[in-house]
C-alpha cells in the first residue's frame, strides 16, 4: 500500500466557514452552530466569469481556495480532481424548465455552466493552471473515487493534486430521498513526497467492509449522512484528532476505502 502526504485542507458548510471552525467542532472544542454560508467571490477570476458563477461553483471554489491559500505550491502547478455526486441540479432544473416551454428559451449562460466540469473550468482560469483536471462522480462512493483518483495521479504522474468534493442541495422540484438539503464542500491538497508543510501521511486501500462508526459530533454526523460529499468528514475527523488512526469511506456493494492516518 503506497502513501501520500496531506498538506492542507479547506471546508465550507453552514456554520463551518473554514477548516479551523470545522476542526474545533470535530474534536469537541466548539459547539456546532448552523449559520448561512457567506457569499464567496474569488478575486482571481475575471469579472465576466465571476458574474456567471452558480452557487454550486462558488461552493466548490471556496473550499479549493482555502486549501491553496498558503501559495505553496503555486496553484498553477497543482492538478485538480473535482468530485460531486449530484452535479449542478439548479442548472439542469432551469434548462429542463426552459425546454418544457413552447419557445424553448435555453439560456446560453446556463448551458455554458451545465457541463459537470464547470467548477474545474473556472478554477483553472482563476489559478492560470494548465495542469490536468478531472471531474468525476460515483454515487455513494464519490469521495472514495475522488480520493483514489487524486492519490493515483500523485503516484503515477508525480504532481501535487488538489481533491475538491462538493454537493449543493437540489432545487425544490428535484428534492427526493436521494438528494441532500445541506451544502457541503471540502478540499484536500496532497503530494507524493513529504514536504516541510506536510500534516499527515495517508495510506489508502480498498477493503471488503463498510463504514463502521460515525463522527463524534452528532450535528456533523447528520451532515455526513445528508450530503454525499460530506463523507470526507470521516477523514477530516482523523486530521482534527491528529493521532494514528483509520477510517473507512463508503464504496458500493458494502465495500469501503480504508484510509490510515499518521501525523507528520
Amino acid at each position: 500500500m503506497n502513501s501520500v502526504y496531506l498538506q492542507a485542507v479547506g471546508v465550507v458548510a453552514p456554520g463551518l466557514p473554514d477548516w479551523p471552525a470545522c476542526r474545533d467542532v470535530l474534536c469537541g472544542r466548539a459547539v456546532y452552530k448552523p449559520a448561512p454560508i457567506a457569499r464567496f467571490s474569488p478575486t482571481s477570476l475575471p469579472v465576466n466569469e465571476r458574474r456567471r458563477m452558480t452557487p454550486t461553483i462558488r461552493l466548490a471554489l471556496q473550499a479549493a481556495t482555502e486549501a491553496m491559500q498558503s501559495g505553496t505550491p503555486d496553484p498553477a502547478t497543482v492538478a485538480t480532481v473535482f468530485a460531486t455526486c449530484n452535479g449542478d441540479l439548479e442548472i439542469s432544473d432551469r434548462i429542463c424548465d426552459a425546454l418544457s416551454l413552447h419557445e424553448r428559451p435555453v439560456s446560453p449562460t446556463d448551458f455554458h455552466n451545465s457541463v459537470h466540469n464547470a467548477p474545474a473550468g473556472y478554477w483553472t482560469i482563476g489559478s492560470q493552471c494548465h495542469r490536468p483536471s478531472t471531474s468525476l462522480s460515483a454515487g455513494v462512493s464519490t469521495v472514495a473515487a475522488g480520493l483514489l483518483e487524486a492519490v493515483t495521479q500523485a503516484w503515477c504522474d508525480d504532481h501535487p493534486v488538489e481533491l475538491i468534493v462538493y454537493d449543493q442541495p437540489a432545487p425544490p422540484v428535484l428534492i427526493s430521498r436521494h438528494t441532500n438539503t445541506t451544502p457541503f464542500a471540502a478540499a484536500l491538497l496532497i503530494q507524493r513526497r513529504q514536504v516541510a508543510e506536510s500534516l499527515a501521511e495517508l495510506r489508502v486501500a480498498p477493503v471488503r467492509r463498510s463504514v463502521t462508526r460515525g463522527l463524534q459530533s452528532a450535528e456533523l454526523e447528520a451532515i455526513r449522512l445528508n450530503n454525499p460529499a460530506a463523507q470526507v468528514l470521516l477523514l477530516l475527523e482523523l486530521l482534527a484528532m491528529n493521532t494514528v488512526a483509520d477510517c473507512v469511506l463508503p464504496c458500493p456493494d458494502s465495500g469501503g476505502l480504508l484510509v490510515e492516518y499518521s501525523p507528520c
Binding site: 434548462i95 455552466n113 474545474a120 478531472t134 471531474s135 460515483a138 473515487a145 483514489l148 483518483e149 503516484w155
Partner: protein
C-alpha cells in the same frame, strides 16, 4: 514513460454509422456518412444529427429497469455487439469481479429522462411524475452503475464528466489505477445520447451548423451533434501479444475560457506533447492524427495552431466528426476505437463533407478515406471548460 503497455483486449462501438464496430469500418471505407436532418424527439431545429437507429426499442433487464433512459438503452445496445460481454465474462473469470475497474465518460448522462419528466409535470402542483428517477437516470454515475450491475464488475469505479474529453480521460484514469495495483483489468468507455439540452444548448451558443458539419473547411460554421457508445477492455500487455495498446496519454487545462479554446492552442499542444513524452515517441513516429476537429471556426483554428506547434508539418490527419457527428462525452472512445481500426485494417479515414480546406489552416487534411499502413495514432479530445486529452495507440514496443 508508461512502465508497461496497456492492451485493448476487446472493443465495441455503436454510433450513427451502425451497430457494432464493423459498421463504422465499412462506412468509413464506403464513404457513407451517418448524419441526417434532425428528427429527434420534438426538436424543431434546422440542423443535422447523428442518431443511432433502434435505441427506442431497447428494453433493460427487469431487475435493472430503474436505470431506464435513452443513455442506458444506448449503453446496452452497444454492449450487446461484437461479443463484447463474452470478453468481459472471460476477463472476470481470470481476474475476479473485484479486480476489474470501470471508468466511463458521459457529458449529459440520462438528462433526456428529466426533460420528458418536466414536460409531464402535474399542471396544478408542478410535481414531477412518479416514474421519474433522478438518481438512476440523470445523475452522471447512472451509466456506470448500470453497466457495473449488468456485467457484475466490482472493482474501483468512477464516471468521468469533463464534457467532450470525458471518454478519452477514462484511459488515463484506468491506466493509473492499474499501475497503482488497484485493479488488474479495466472496462473503459463512454456513452452520450441525444438530448434537447445539448441540441438547444449548443444552438443557443450559435455553435450548431444548419448543414452536415465540415471540419477544417473554409466554410465551416458549426457542429452536428451525434450520439454513441463505445467500450474497451484493458489488460496489461503480455509478451508475444499483438493487441493494440495505449502507448501514452496527455491531459491539460486551457485556463482560458469555458466555451472557447485558447486561440493559440496552448492547452491542446501541451496535451499532445505530454502524450508523446509518456509514450517515449517523437512527432515523426506518429502515422496518423485523429483530430478533435469539431468544425467550429475557433476550435479548428486553435487545434491547428497546436498541431503546428507540436509537429511543424503534421503526418496524415483528419476529423471523423462529419461521419458520426460530435458525440460529445462519447467522442473520446469513438475516436480511440476508430484509431485502433485504422491500425488493424490499414486505412486513414477521410474527412466527410469537407470540400474546400481552409487555406489558413495546415495543409494536407485527408479528405477521402485511403488505404495506408498505420502503426501509431494520436487521437485528440478537447472539451468545454478547457479540458484536453490526447491518447496514443499502436502496436507495443518490442
Amino acid at each position: 514513460m508508461l512502465k508497461r503497455n496497456l492492451s485493448l483486449k476487446a472493443y465495441t462501438l455503436t454510433n450513427s454509422l451502425g451497430h457494432g464496430e464493423m459498421a463504422t469500418v465499412s462506412a468509413l471505407r464506403e464513404q457513407r456518412g451517418g448524419l441526417r436532418k434532425c428528427d429527434f424527439d420534438t426538436a424543431e431545429l434546422d440542423t443535422w444529427i447523428g442518431r443511432v437507429d433502434g435505441v427506442e426499442d431497447i428494453t433493460l433487464p427487469q431487475s435493472l429497469r430503474r436505470f431506464d433512459c435513452r443513455n442506458n438503452r444506448l449503453a446496452l445496445l452497444a454492449l450487446e455487439q461484437d461479443a463484447f460481454t463474452d470478453a468481459v465474462s472471460s476477463c472476470r473469470r481470470r481476474h475476479g469481479a473485484a479486480r476489474i475497474g470501470i471508468f466511463l465518460g458521459t457529458s449529459t448522462s440520462g438528462i433526456h429522462a428529466t426533460e420528458l419528466a418536466y414536460r409531464a409535470r402535474e399542471p396544478e402542483t408542478g410535481r414531477l411524475p412518479a416514474w421519474f428517477d433522478l438518481q438512476n437516470t440523470q445523475l452522471i454515475f447512472s451509466v456506470v452503475d448500470f453497466v457495473r450491475e449488468l456485467l457484475d464488475i466490482r472493482g474501483p469505479t468512477q464516471a468521468v464528466s469533463t464534457a467532450c474529453s470525458s471518454s478519452a480521460k477514462v484511459f488515463a484514469s484506468a491506466c493509473r489505477h492499474m499501475q497503482a495495483g488497484l485493479c488488474d483489468a479495466a472496462l473503459v468507455g463512454g456513452v452520450d445520447s441525444l438530448s434537447l439540452t445539448t441540441l438547444y444548448g449548443f444552438n443557443a451558443l450559435q455553435l450548431v451548423s444548419t448543414r452536415p458539419c465540415r471540419p477544417w473547411d473554409q466554410e465551416r460554421d458549426g457542429i452536428s451533434i451525434g450520439e454513441a457508445a463505445g467500450f474497451a477492455l484493458l489488460e496489461w500487455d503480455t509478451a508475444g501479444s499483438d493487441d493494440i495498446a495505449l502507448l501514452g496519454y496527455g491531459e491539460s487545462s486551457d485556463a482560458h475560457q469555458i466555451a472557447t479554446p485558447h486561440p493559440k492552442g496552448t492547452g491542446a499542444a501541451l496535451s499532445m506533447q505530454l502524450a508523446l513524452h509518456k509514450s517515449a515517441l517523437g512527432g515523426r513516429d506518429i502515422d496518423y492524427i485523429n483530430l478533435h476537429g469539431t468544425a467550429t471556426s475557433t476550435n479548428d483554428a486553435s487545434e491547428n495552431a497546436a498541431l503546428h506547434r507540436v509537429f511543424g508539418i503534421p503526418p496524415a490527419f483528419s476529423s471523423t466528426k462529419g461521419w458520426t457527428g460530435h458525440t460529445l462525452g462519447a467522442a473520446g472512445i469513438t475516436e480511440a476505437i476508430i484509431s485502433c481500426q485504422a491500425i488493424t485494417h490499414g486505412f486513414v479515414p477521410g474527412t466527410m463533407n469537407t470540400r474546400q480546406p481552409d487555406k489558413s489552416l495546415s495543409d494536407g487534411i485527408v479528405l477521402d478515406t485511403r488505404d495506408q499502413e498505420v502503426g501509431t495514432v494520436l487521437s485528440n479530445s478537447f472539451g468545454f471548460g478547457g479540458s484536453n486529452c490526447s491518447l496514443i495507440f499502436g502496436r507495443p514496443h518490442r
